[in-house]
Symmetry: C2
Subunit: 456 residues, 2 copies
């Protein structure tokens, strides 16, 4: 449903751009939600997008900037980068400072510096301050405009303060601070409605609240918000002074990004390598990983080289050795994915490691038998040689058992060494399953050939 | 910090269980947040967990059940399944009905039926009704206890109604319905505070609101909540009558599950195959995928078989052919991951497909050159044969180009056929990169050998 509505809007936008019907176009754009506009922008080609954005900025710069922010900081920065620093600084003022900071971060180096300089001149602007926090920390994604009440207020005074507040990003929790802005408690909006206005705020607030420090990792922030089902979490400095708030919508973005990061790392792709990164950028990010894999591929090749003589003698060995190695790789990928995701979701802990290892080893043996028997029968039928079949079957059982235990142990070991298991595991695993695949199959084949030579 | 606090609690819980100090144990458990208790439970071994849960249930069944619910429906159901249907039905009553329904769904078949029967006898219990909605739809994850106001109320009456409400899961938005419970508008809690009590609710509500149907896919629900930055979304039936509400915390769970699904599918693992599924279950789920891969591995082997004679003549071909095939597979996995995730995040649309294909093809060529040149030099140095090196380099360029274009086209084609690209792409891709890897390297090798034979 929603998708179709967007398609209708998209078609109209394209038509109106083609016709040059700017008045109608602006009217249509103005009626859309920022998130829908972002969707429309992302489907337009670059020229259409620039045109539509330029028109909307003139008429309704707030909506235009909200849509740009929803596009994501990278695409948003790209859309702005043709404009003057003065204009960019003015437009960024339409956004909450956390969103503005994210965009500034992606502007081209020189432009970024001029924009920041202009922004920092404005009294009370926090964009520059936010950018001083390290990337991927709470400070970077928080909104510094947090609504706070004094602990000396009554409920009636609190309601008056709330009525007077403007420009406050979604208020769900009312944070209570002391005279020096130390965070001392929290009250819910609903609670305010349930008591007489003369009640002291102190009496209805709860002092048992979860907060994070500005330097807390954003992944930890997401974990806290998700597991305590919070709508927002207050951010404090090292003295427990309230400096900002992170709302659940920002946390959702973090969760999505971290999930992408996990998928990407398992495949050896950098986190910021997207569909529409330039070819040069993607190359620069992907080649190093491929070169590492090239080294490991040659290590595996050197195992095959040990058996060159035997392959010359029985070239059927060369035909089936990739089957054994490849199947080990596939089984290892399954195990690795379950383990890495189990670590990420917190299901796999130190306490239950042994149980997981035992289980995966059992699955490895089972997989090996299930695939080894089928494989053996196929080879027997194909080459008419039951021995070759049996050798392939046995090698497959060995390799899939190795794949399963290594697929469990390697990510756990990497975690112990504080290396991201998603990042490095797959290189080790592929090398191992290739080496063991070739070694077990060619090794068993060699043993058999020697046996035949002796008895023959 | 938070992690460390949990570890302290965990150690104390273990010690108190060992000492049999039940009174102290219950006191300690009672002081924890449900999410922290769930974390503690998940780290205990099975016997400890059963003991701790049994003690807590007796003293504070609500907290015990909340912790059990946070453990996830599968683990939660396992923890309950030793109890009588009557007791389970009573305990489930402590939970919101969407959470209770999720747990019931994972109980063993027979127990599930008896529990459901008992639950459905209770007047006004919605657990059974929720389970009638299809899995992964809005109906399944919504809370049917939604707080709604009549459109004829004044703001003052609305506040009184709100004060009288109990047991309502987090109220953020006040949904407004007509006499027949059709959803007509929404008002924010904050808005209520800003106007005189005599104002008609109709005047301050907005009628432009986003809702979903009970049969809407949960992924679409998550997309809407995330892109419009909502805290909750109302669920309506086919006549637009309000039947429930989905809050952002449930949406976060959906987003996490869908991310896991994507990672899993790329690796050929079923969505419900977890670290602690039994070995039998995991085997049953993983073997079919492996057998499919076995078929494709033999297809690739049959390509090698075409060149058996040449391999006998030059066994070095067998040493390096897995390098070409494997590197193609690695490059294809990178492309595939970027494309599949781009589809999932909505960044890749029909409009910009050609751009993506062109870019990936370029990256494929670049990758091929970068790895092919290094590979060629290694082979030359190793075997002292520049020709063999050149053949490997050329084959690698060809295979990595094929890998990149296929890695882009196959998931897009699958999406066009309405097959999940994450699920089926990797089998096709591995087959293709193996076949093309062997074919290009052994084919070029054969051409070279023939050339030498003729000129020699």
């Amino acid at each position: 449903m929603a998708q179709r509505k967007i398609d209708v809007v998209l078609d109209s936008v394209r038509r109106l751009i083609r016709l040059g019907a700017t008045a109608n176009l602006v009217n249509l754009l103005q009626k859309q939600h920022p998130a829908d506009l972002a969707q429309v922008f992302s489907e337009l080609n670059e020229k259409e997008r620039t045109t539509a954005f330029a028109l909307l900025v003139e008429r309704n710069s707030k909506l235009a900037m909200e849509a740009l922010s929803e596009l994501g900081p990278e695409a948003g920065a790209a859309l702005l980068s043709g404009r003057s620093p003065e204009e960019i600084a003015r437009l960024l003022h339409e956004l909450p400072s956390d969103d503005a900071a994210a965009i500034v971060d992606y502007l081209p180096e020189e432009l970024r510096a001029s924009v920041l300089e202009l922004i920092e001149k404005r009294p009370g602007d926090e964009v520059g301050e936010l950018l001083e926090y390290a990337e991927q920390t709470a400070g970077r994604i928080m909104n510094p405009k947090v609504f706070a009440l004094s602990e000396d207020m009554t409920v009636g005074e609190a309601i008056t303060a709330l009525q007077g507040s403007r420009d406050v990003e979604m208020v769900f929790y009312l944070y209570v601070v002391d005279a020096r802005r130390h965070l001392v408690g929290v009250a819910s909006l609903r609670r305010l409605l349930l008591v007489p206005p003369s009640t002291p705020l102190k009496r209805i607030m709860t002092t048992d609240l979860t907060s994070v420090r500005a330097d807390t990792d954003q992944e930890e922030v997401a974990r806290l918000v998700a597991s305590y089902n919070l709508l927002a979490i207050p951010v404090v400095d090292e003295e427990n002074k309230l400096v900002g708030v992170i709302t659940v919508d920002d946390v959702i973005d973090v969760i999505k990004d971290e999930a992408t990061e996990d998928v990407y790392r398992l495949a050896g792709v950098a986190g910021d390598d997207r569909v529409f990164s330039t070819a040069g950028e993607s190359l620069r990010k992907r080649v190093p990983w491929l070169e590492v894999n090239l080294v490991t591929a040659f290590i595996a090749a050197s195992v095959v080289a040990l058996f060159e003589g035997r392959i010359q003698q029985a070239p059927a060995l060369a035909v089936f050795m990739p089957v054994v190695a490849g199947m080990g790789g596939n089984a290892a990928t399954q195990t690795l994915t379950v383990i890495v995701r189990g670590i990420a979701l917190g299901e796999l802990t130190w306490a239950n490691t042994r149980k997981a290892l035992f289980k995966e080893a059992l699955v490895g043996l089972g997989n090996g038998l299930a695939c080894g028997i089928v494989g053996a029968l196929v080879v027997w039928a194909w080459k008419g040689n039951p021995w070759l079949g049996a050798i392939l079957g046995a090698a497959m059982v060995i390799n899939m058992f190795v794949a399963a235990t290594a697929g469990t142990l390697i990510p756990l070991a990497l975690r112990m060494l504080k290396i991201d298991p998603a990042l490095a595991s797959s290189v080790f695993i592929t090398t191992l399953t290739d080496v063991f695949g070739f070694l077990s199959f060619l090794g068993l084949g060699t043993l058999f050939l020697r046996l035949v030579e002796r008895t023959g």
